[in-house]
Symmetry: C2
Subunit: 312 residues, 2 copies
C-alpha cells in the first residue's frame, strides 16, 4: 500500500529533501549539497541516491512510495523540461523524465516560487483556502497566484510577478527590470535598505541605524520593532507600496487570502498591520474583507509544495 | 441523440435567446421582452414558453436538447442562486432550479459579464485561447479573467473588475466607486465624454466637437476617425490608461490575449494601436508578446457564453 512520498526543493546551494506521509506530515527532512558542476548533470542522481539511501535506512519497500515531487529555480514547462535554471546550470533539461527513469517512479516538477505557494496553501498560511495570492518578500519580491487550488503559470511565465507591479510613478531610481517604481524597489530586503539609505540622506534625525556601515534588512526590521522612527518610516513605505499593489491585485484576481512570506515577513504582525492599513484605504469596497496571513513554513515551503504537486 | 442547446442572455429590457448546435453554431436568435414587474417572477416562465414554442415550431423533440444556459446581470453563486440582480428585481432567487424544474432540463447560469467573456473565448476574439482577459468598455468598464478555459469568479465577486484599477494618482474627480483615478474614468463611454469636456475647457483649439451640446462617445470616436485632434487626444488618454491597466494586469495573471469589447471598442484598430503603444512602454519585458484582439460577437456574446457554460 502506498504510504509515502518525497518532496524535494532543489536550490543553487543545497537540495532540501522531505519524507512525507500522503496526508502531508513531514516525517523527516535533510539536506544534500547541490553539485552544479558540469551543467548540473549530477544533481538528480545525487537526489536519487539520497532517496534510495533513506528507503533502505527506514526499510521502506518501494511499492509504499508514491514518487518524488521536485521544484527548481527556473522556468519549467508542462512537459517537465526545465528551459533554464541559471543557478543549477540546467538548460532544456528534461528533469522530470531523467529522475523518473532513474527511479522508475512517478515524478512531478514545478518552479520553486510556485511550489512554495502550493506548500503554504496546503499546510501553511493559506491552509483551507483555494484562492490565494502569495507574495514573497526576499532579496527580490516574488509571488504566485493560486486559483481553485492550482497555480496559475501564465502565458509568459510572469503570473504572480507582483514584485514588478509599478506602485509609485515618481520613482527616479531604476529597478533591476529596467523600469521605475516597481514594488520590489520598496518591499524587498534590498528595497528596505535602499529606502532607509534615502531617508538617512534626507532626514537629519536620530536613529540607531545612522552608524551602521553594512545596513541589512534584518537590522532595519529589528530597529522598527524597537520603535526606531526612521526604521518605522521605512516600514510605512513598505506597507504603503505593498498595500497598494495588493489593492490592485484584488481587482484582477480577487483572492480569498494574501499570504506574505520571505525574509522581510519576519517583521511579522507590524508588517501585516501597516500593509492592511494602506490596503483598506485604497481597495475597492468589496475587497476589504480579503484576509492577510503570514507564511508559516519558512524554508520548508518548497518541499511541502513539491509533495503536494506529486499528489495531483 | 442530443443535438441542440439554448443560450439565453437575460437583460433588464430584453432577453436574447439563441438556438445552438452543440458545436456552437448559432442556428437562430430572437428576443423577448423582460417582464421585471413583481420582482421579475415571470421572466423565466416567459423564457420557458419561448423555448417550448421554438421546439414546437422547429419540431425538435425534447430528447435532442441538452438544456438551457442562462446569464443574468448580477452576482450569482455556485448553487445557481442569484443573490441580487437589481435590474431584474431578483433577490436570493434560485434561477437555475426554477427554470430546471419548469423545463425538466439541465440549466446552467452565470453572471452576464462572465458569460460574454466565455462566449468570446469560445467563438469570438479569444478563440483558441485558454487564458485571456476580457475588458468591456461600455457605459462603465467591466472585465473578466479566464484561466485554463474557466472564468475566475473571485472570493468577493470582483475578479476582472479592471475598470476599478487605479491608473492615475493625480485625479481630482471622484469615480462612481468613491475612489479617484479608476480606469473607468478614462476608458468608458462616459469617461470619454468626461475627458473630452475637460480638454474642451482647457484647450482653446479648433475641434468639430466644440459645438456639440449632447456629446456622446460615438461622436468622439467618429471625430477621432476623421482626424480631429482633440478627439485623438481623448483616445490617447484612453490608450494610455488602458495600456497601463493591462500592463499591470500582466504581472498578476499573465494572459495569452487581451480581448477588448463594448461600445467604445467600435473605435477599432486605432484603439488597439494606441493602447498597445502605451502597453509596450510600461509592461515587464516578458509581457510584450501578449496578444490584443477586438471582441467579435457584439451583443451575442452573452448567448454564446451561456451556451458554452451549458456544455461544461
Amino acid at each position: 500500500m502506498v504510504k509515502y512520498g518525497f518532496g524535494v526543493d532543489i536550490g543553487g546551494t543545497t537540495c532540501k529533501l522531505g519524507l512525507f506521509s500522503l496526508e502531508g506530515e513531514l516525517l523527516e527532512k535533510w539536506e544534500i549539497p547541490t553539485d552544479t558542476a558540469d551543467g548540473g548533470v549530477r544533481i538528480l542522481s545525487d537526489v536519487a541516491d539520497a532517496v534510495e539511501q533513506k528507503l533502505k535506512e527506514r526499510q521502506i519497500p518501494r511499492d509504499e512510495v508514491l514518487g518524488i515531487g521536485l521544484d527548481a529555480p527556473g522556468a519549467i514547462g508542462e512537459d517537465g523540461v526545465v528551459s533554464q535554471a541559471v543557478n543549477l546550470g540546467w538548460r532544456q533539461y528534461p528533469a522530470r523524465d531523467v529522475l523518473s527513469q532513474r527511479m522508475n517512479m512517478k515524478v512531478r516538477i514545478c518552479n520553486d516560487a510556485n511550489a512554495a505557494a502550493l506548500g503554504e496553501q496546503w499546510k501553511g498560511g493559506g491552509a483551507g483556502c483555494l484562492d490565494m495570492v502569495m507574495v514573497t518578500l526576499g532579496t527580490g519580491v516574488g509571488g504566485a497566484v493560486i486559483a481553485g487550488g492550482k497555480v496559475i503559470g501564465g502565458a509568459h511565465g510572469i503570473a504572480g510577478e507582483i514584485g514588478h507591479m509599478i506602485v509609485y510613478a515618481g520613482e527616479t531610481e531604476r529597478c533591476a527590470c529596467g523600469r521605475y517604481g516597481c514594488l520590489e524597489q520598496y518591499a524587498s530586503a534590498s528595497g528596505l535598505v535602499r529606502v532607509t539609505r534615502c531617508l538617512l540622506e534626507k532626514k537629519n534625525r536620530r536613529t540607531i541605524l545612522s552608524d551602521t556601515p553594512e545596513l541589512s534588512a534584518k537590522q532595519i526590521i529589528d530597529a522598527a520593532k524597537r520603535g526606531d522612527e526612521l526604521a518605522l518610516d521605512t516600514l510605512e513605505i513598505l506597507g504603503k507600496t505593498l498595500g497598494r499593489a495588493l489593492a490592485t491585485t484584488v481587482v484582477v484576481i480577487d483572492p480569498e487570502r494574501f499570504v506574505i512570506g520571505g525574509g522581510v515577513s519576519k517583521a511579522g504582525e507590524i508588517l501585516l498591520e501597516i500593509t492592511k492599513k494602506y490596503y483598506v484605504q485604497e481597495v475597492l469596497t468589496e475587497g476589504r474583507e480579503t484576509e492577510f496571513a503570514l507564511a508559516m513554513l519558512g524554508n520548508d515551503a518548497g518541499m511541502y509544495g513539491s509533495m503536494r504537486l506529486l499528489l495531483e
